[in-house]
C-alpha cells in the first residue's frame, strides 16, 4: 500500500497537530460555554427535563451524543479490531437495545412524564422503598460510568495537548460544570446536539479517508463489503497463527455471545441517562420518532466502527510485521522509546512515526524478545509477540497510521472530547436528579420552594462533578470491569420492572421489589466474585465462572453476560410473587391504563408550561 510506504518525516507536523488541536478545542469549548450561558434555567422542570419542549430530531442527536461515550468513540473500534467477528456483541448489543427501548419503554415513560426513572418506579409500585432502591441503582450506575468518561478526557488532553492528565481532567470538569450547572437538562441537550456533530465528523473523516485509500469506495460501509481487505486480513492473521478475522466464536463461545449481547441490549434499554432523554420531548409521538433519529445518528458511527476496526487491523499487521527495530532512543523530554522502521522499495529505512509517538505515552510497548532486530507479530497466547498495543489508542491513532493531515488528527481529538463530555454531562444530571429530586427533596424537604429545589439540584451536580473528577485523576483499577457491571445491573434491575410495570397490569409492589432485589443481588454477587481480583484487590478471583468445561458453554459464564441471567431471574420472581400476593390498587391500574394511551401526556398534575409543548415534530 503506497500510503504506508510513503511515510514522510512528520516531525514538524507534530507541532502543527498541537496547534490545530488547540484551535479546535478552544472553538468547541467556547461554543459549549455559550450554549450553557444562553440556556440558563430558572425552574426545576427546565433543569430536569428541559421543559419538555425538545423537538424529536434534536433529541435524537442529543441522545446519540449522550449515549455514545468515550467507550464508543475511543475504545469500541479497538475492541472489535481485537475480537474480530465476535466484536459484534458490542455493535448489536448496544444498538439492538434501542429497538427494545423504542417499543417497550420510551413512549410509555414519556406519557407517564415526570422527572426521573425512580419517579416512575415509585408511582407504579406505590412504594417509597422502591424509589430509594431505584435511585441508589441510578446513582451507582452513573458514577461508575462517569468516572470512565473523565479518564477519557484526561487521556485525550495528555496525548494531544501534552498537558498533565489532571490538568486535562480539571479543564473538562470546569467546562461540563458551566453548561450543566447553568442550563441543567436544557443546556445539556443543546450542547449535546452540537457535540454530536463534532464527534460524528471526527469519526467519519478518517474512516472515509481510510476507506478511500484501501478500497475503491470512500464510503466505508460499501468499501467494507466490496473491498478485498477481509481476505487480506484473514490471510495475514492465519500466517501469524491467529484465527481468521471473519470467523465467529474464536474469542467467546456461542452461548456467551448470546448472553453478552442480550445483557447489553437490555442494559441499554434500562440505563437511566438514556431513558431520561425521552422525558424531554413534547409528546409520545415525538418519543417514538426521537428513538428512530437517535438510532440513525448512532448507526452513522456504529456501522463505521467495524469498518475502521478491520482497516486498522490490516494497517497495523501490514506495517508492523517484519519492521526493523532500532536502538533505544530518548525523546526531547527524556522519555525512552524504541524507534521502528519500515524498509521501502529503494532499501531505505523509513521511521514509523506513530509508533514512536504512542510509545512516548506508554500505550505501545516494544520488546525485541529474540534480539533479531525484526518485529514479530506472531500469536502468543492471543497477543502479538513483540509489541503491545493498548486497544484504546486505535481510533485516536488511525489518522496518524493513515498519514492524514494534522487537522484531521486534531479533529479526532476534539471529537473524543465531545464524546466524553456529552456523556459525562448526561450522567451527572442523572446523579443530580436522583440525589436532589428523588432522595433529598422528596424525603427531607418535600415543601421546598422552586428556587430552593433548583439550588439543591445545582449543589448536587457540583458534588457529582467533583467525585467524577477525582475518579478521572485517580482512577481505580477496575473501571473497565465496572462498565460491564453498570450494564448488567441496569439489565437485571430497571429493564424488567419498567417493562412489567407497563405490560403486566397485575404486577404489584411485592413482585417488583423482590424481583429487582433478586436480579441485582445475583448479578452483582456473580460479577464481584468472578472479578474480585480486580474489584476487591484480591490476588485470585474468589470464584471461577460457572459451567466451565460444560459442552454448551466451554469457557464458563462470563461476568459481562450474567446480566441476562439476572434479568431472567428478576422476571420469574416478579411474575410468581405477584400472582401469589394481592393485585395493585385501582388507581395504579388506572395509571397503567393511562400510560398505554398517547393522548393527554400533558395532564394538569405534570405542572408544565403548555407553551413549551408546542415544539414541532418530524
Amino acid at each position: 500500500m503506497d500510503f504506508i510506504e510513503q511515510m514522510p518525516l512528520i516531525g514538524a507536523a507534530m507541532t502543527a497537530t498541537r496547534a490545530w488541536t488547540f484551535g479546535f478545542v478552544t472553538i468547541t469549548f467556547m461554543i459549549y460555554l455559550y450554549i450553557g450561558w444562553r440556556s440558563r434555567v430558572k425552574e426545576s422542570g427546565e433543569f430536569y427535563v428541559a421543559g419538555q419542549g425538545v423537538p424529536a430530531i434534536a433529541n435524537g442527536a442529543a441522545t446519540a451524543a449522550d449515549w455514545m461515550s468515550a467507550a464508543s468513540f475511543i475504545s469500541m473500534a479497538g475492541l472489535i479490531s481485537g475480537l474480530g467477528s465476535d466484536g459484534s456483541v458490542f455493535l448489536l448489543g448496544w444498538t439492538g437495545g434501542y429497538v427494545l427501548l423504542a417499543m417497550l419503554l420510551a413512549p410509555y415513560l414519556r406519557k407517564f412524564g415526570q422527572y426521573t426513572v425512580p419517579d416512575f418506579v415509585a408511582k407504579r409500585y406505590y412504594s417509597e422503598t422502591a424509589r430509594i432502591v431505584a435511585a441508589v441503582c441510578a446513582v451507582f450506575i452513573s458514577i461508575t460510568y462517569v468516572a470512565g468518561q473523565m479518564r477519557g478526557v484526561g487521556i485525550v488532553f495528555a496525548r494531544f495537548l501534552e498537558v498533565e492528565t489532571w490538568q486535562g481532567v480539571v479543564l473538562g470538569m470546569v467546562i461540563v460544570g458551566v453548561f450543566a450547572v447553568l442550563g441543567g437538562m436544557k443546556g445539556i441537550t443543546w450542547t449535546q446536539v452540537v457535540q454530536f456533530f463534532v464527534l460524528i465528523a471526527a469519526f467519519l473523516i478518517p474512516t472515509f479517508a481510510l476507506s478511500g485509500m484501501l478500497t475503491d469506495s470512500s464510503i466505508p460501509q460499501i468499501g467494507f463489503a466490496t473491498g478485498d481487505i477481509a481476505e487480506k486480513v484473514n490471510l495475514i492473521q492465519e500466517d501469524l497463527g491467529f484465527s481468521s478475522y471473519t470467523q465467529p466464536f474464536t474469542n467467546y463461545d456461542m452461548a456467551n455471545v448470546f448472553l453478552i449481547m442480550f445483557a447489553l441490549m437490555a442494559g441499554t434499554a434500562g440505563l437511566p441517562h438514556v431513558i431520561v432523554r425521552f422525558y424531554t420531548v413534547a409528546n409520545v409521538r415525538a418519543a417514538r420518532y426521537s428513538a428512530f433519529w437517535a438510532l440513525l445518528f448512532i448507526c452513522l458511527l456504529y456501522t463505521s466502527a467495524p469498518v475502521l476496526a478491520m482497516f486498522a487491523r490490516y494497517s497495523i499487521l501490514n506495517t508492523l510485521e517484519g519492521a526493523r527495530i532500532g536502538e533505544v532512543a530518548k525523546s526531547d523530554d527524556d522519555v525512552e522509546y524504541i524507534p521502528v522502521y519500515r524498509v521501502n522499495d529503494e532499501g531505505k529505512e523509513v521511521p514509523i512515526q506513530w509508533v514512536d509517538t504512542w510509545q512516548k505515552t506508554g500505550l505501545i510497548t516494544i520488546e525485541d524478545k529474540n534480539k533479531d532486530g525484526i518485529l514479530s507479530l506472531k500469536n502468543v497466547d492471543g497477543n502479538f509477540d513483540e509489541v503491545k498495543i493498548d486497544k484504546d489508542i486505535l481510533v485516536l491513532a488511525t489518522p496518524e497510521i493513515a498519514q492524514l493531515s494534522p487537522w484531521v488528527i486534531a479533529i479526532v481529538a476534539t471529537g473524543g472530547l465531545a464524546a466524553a463530555l456529552s456523556t459525562a454531562a448526561g450522567l451527572l444530571l442523572v446523579i443530580s436528579s436522583s440525589m436532589a429530586h428523588d432522595l433529598y427533596v422528596h424525603f427531607f424537604e418535600p415543601n421546598a420552594s422552586e428556587p430552593r429545589r433548583l439550588l439543591i439540584a445545582r449543589i448536587m451536580i457540583i458534588g457529582a462533578i467533583l467525585v467524577a473528577g477525582y475518579f478521572g485523576i485517580a482512577p481505580p483499577g477496575f473501571i473497565g470491569e465496572v462498565v460491564a457491571f453498570a450494564f448488567g445491573l441496569a439489565a437485571a434491575s430497571f429493564f424488567p420492572i419498567i417493562f412489567l410495570g407497563i405490560f403486566d397490569k397485575r404486577m404489584n409492589r411485592e413482585g417488583a421489589t423482590l424481583g429487582m432485589i433478586v436480579g441485582i443481588l445475583f448479578t452483582a454477587v456473580y460479577i464481584i466474585l468472578c472479578r474480585s481480583d480486580r474489584v476487591l484487590g484480591f490476588d485470585e478471583p474468589l470464584m471461577t465462572p460457572w459451567f466451565q468445561g460444560s459442552s454448551w458453554i466451554p469457557n464458563g459464564l462470563r461476568p459481562e453476560g450474567v446480566g441476562a441471567i439476572g434479568l431472567a431471574l428478576n422476571f420469574i420472581v416478579a411474575v410468581v410473587i405477584s400472582r401469589m400476593t394481592s393485585p395493585p390498587p385501582e388507581e395504579v391500574q388506572d395509571l397503567v391504563e393511562s400510560v398505554r394511551v398517547p393522548r393527554g401526556s400533558h395532564a394538569p398534575e405534570a405542572h408544565f408550561d403548555e407553551t413549551d409543548a408546542e415544539a414541532d415534530n418530524p
Binding site: 465467529p248 398505554r596 401526556s601
Partner: protein, 91 residues
Amino acid sequence: MSSSPPPSRPEPKVAYWQQNLMVIGVLLTIWAFVAFGCSIFFIEWLNQFQIGNLPLGFWFAQQGSMYVFLVLILVYALVMDYLDRKHDVKE
C-alpha cells in the same frame, strides 16, 4: 383485563392496546431473528454465502442487523401514527 370498569374509571382502550401488542410482537420477532438468528445461531451457515467480498453471516453481525433495527423502529413509529389516528388517541 377486559372486565368492564365502573363508570368513574377511564375506559381502557382494549382494541388499541391489542393491536399495539401485535405490532410490537411482529417487529420484535424480526428483531430477534436478525440479531440472534442471523448474527449468532446461523452465522456459520450463512458464512458460506458472500455479500461482496465478505461472508454473509459476518456482514449481518457487523452491518446488516443494524440497518434492520433502524427500519424496524421507523416502521413502528409510522404504524403507531396510523393506530393513534384510527383509535382516536392521537394528541
